[in-house]
């Protein structure tokens, strides 16, 4: 009996679902994603692009599907269900890390003093009731005084002294104070930003510009209530009877700074000397230049020596 056909068919069937790659594919079942890190085979790619891409995609999907089918399943009326594992690929954050909050006034003080933060539980042990009660909130311990059926009245109390009301008012005042401090902290955190200051300065400058940007330089504009007068740039002059020596010194310093020769002229004439050197050279060399002049002087000296020897 020849079973080779059956074996071959079986092998073919198994071959279809097995994917052989040099580098195994990365499967992230959580994201239903497969990454193929293998380099492209240039020959088969050049031969037929479509076919190559299709076969690569097929391999990827095959690996993914076999990974999915190997997951543990539970049965359901709609058929077996598999729970996807948590994703393994780490993705970068979409948003930047949150900025640290600016410290509150208390946090600053505590840091300066080295006070450690101690966490209080929300619940507190009540000795009388012999159970854990809330510190605040529903049936909170902070409302204990308000709910006493009997309370002590100080000797100098008013006629309409209400201990319950007093305790409640005090508690409400503490809450209000805390809220106020919270708002102050928020305001401080806002105000400390240089950005805000910059924006305020910008707005002020823009407002000042617009106020004088009409044809009458703002003279006939409608004035708003509480609009301040524009502050102009104050001119400042030296006193008239400043010492002549000081003034002379200042003027000479200014002269040195501006170089007292306009740039226009320095193009034509580099220095302010009595002799125009360039012109003198031109004249002496009969327009041939300094190099020719030097050469001629050298030649003359040599000739002079030769003459003497004779």
């Amino acid at each position: 009996m020849d079973v080779s056909d059956i074996l071959a068919a079986q092998a073919e069937k198994h071959k279809a679902i097995a994917v052989e790659k040099e580098i195994p594919l990365d499967v992230d079942a959580g994201f239903l994603a497969v990454t193929d890190p293998n380099p492209i085979e240039k020959e088969s790619y050049d031969e037929n692009v479509e076919e190559y891409l299709q076969s690569t995609a097929r391999d990827g999907v095959q690996v993914l599907l076999s990974a999915l089918f190997s997951l543990p399943t539970t049965s359901s009326p709609d058929g077996p269900l598999a729970q996807l594992p948590p994703p393994t690929t780490t993705l970068p954050r979409a948003k930047p890390l949150p900025k640290p909050k600016p410290p509150t006034k208390w946090e600053k003080f505590a840091r300066a003093k080295g006070i450690q933060k101690t966490r209080k539980d929300k619940k507190e042990w009540d000795e009388e009731k012999q159970e854990w009660v809330n510190r605040w909130g529903w049936k909170g311990k902070n409302k204990e005084e308000e709910t006493q059926w009997l309370s002590e009245v100080p000797a100098n109390a008013d006629v309409d002294y209400d201990p319950t009301k007093k305790a409640r008012d005090e508690r409400k005042a503490r809450v209000a104070k805390n809220e106020r401090q919270h708002l102050q902290n928020l305001a401080r955190a806002q105000a400390s930003g240089a950005e805000r200051k910059q924006r305020k300065a910008d707005i002020d400058r823009t407002l000042a510009t617009t106020r004088v940007s009409t044809a009458s330089m703002g003279k006939y504009d409608k004035k708003l209530d509480g609009e301040k007068k524009l502050r102009e740039v104050k001119r400042k002059f030296e006193p008239t009877e400043v010492s002549a020596d000081v003034e002379k010194k200042n003027n000479l310093a200014l002269l040195a700074k501006i170089g007292n020769v306009p740039a226009k002229r320095s193009k034509h004439e580099g220095n302010d000397a009595a002799i125009n050197v360039r012109k003198a050279v031109r004249f002496a060399s009969k327009g041939e230049g300094g190099v020719a002049l030097a050469r001629r002087a050298e030649g003359k000296a040599a000739r002079g020596k030769a003459g003497r020897r004779k």
Binding site: T240, K248, L252, L255, N276
Partner: protein
């Protein structure tokens, strides 16, 4: 009356340096008596320190003039030299132009200096250089700006302008009421 600010001083000095170059130092640093520049009603005055101190006691609306008026500032902050500064410019001028007697009257009526009126000119004068204009017997007549350098003037035709007129002593008569 007040001293010049730094920008104003700069404008004045740059204008003066165009005519007298480094001799400007001699105006500021004088051996005989300290002199200073003062601004009064947009006009710049060159005045000795002693007269300046006397002038301080005169109220601003009453003060007409003091020292030598060098020029005035335009509303846009440019400085314009007046012919009244000619005495000092002529004394320290670096580049000079002498004009023939037949050109004198033309120049004194406010015309530019033409080539055929040109008697002499300082050698190596560059173009657009502030020059002082003299008559042939060395009397300063005014000042102006050269249109060409000395070398270039040789090729010009006789009616070409050599010096652009800026101020002349004729203004003492023509602009008598606004000059000082």
């Amino acid at each position: 009356m007040r001293p010049l600010t730094e920008e104003e001083s700069k404008a004045v000095f740059e204008k003066l340096a165009n005519y007298i170059g480094k001799n400007l130092v001699h105006l500021i640093d004088r051996p005989d008596e300290p002199y200073c520049f003062r601004l009064h009603k947009d006009r710049v005055y060159y005045v000795s320190e002693s007269s300046m101190r006397l002038g301080v006691s005169v109220a601003r609306p009453s003060l007409i003039s003091l020292g030598t008026c060098f020029g005035k500032f335009s509303k846009s902050g440019k400085f314009k030299l007046h012919v009244t500064s000619l005495d000092y410019l002529a004394q320290y001028a670096k580049y000079k132009v002498w004009i023939k007697p037949n050109g004198e009257m033309s120049f004194l009526y406010g015309n530019h200096v033409l080539k055929n009126h040109l008697g002499r000119i300082t050698e190596d004068t560059p173009e657009h250089q502030g020059v002082v204009v003299y008559s042939m017997n060395d009397v300063p007549l005014g000042f102006g700006v050269t249109s060409r350098s000395t070398v270039d003037t040789r090729k010009l035709d006789p009616t070409a302008i050599i010096v652009f007129h800026q101020a002349d002593v004729g203004e003492y008569l023509r602009d008598e009421d606004t000059l000082f």
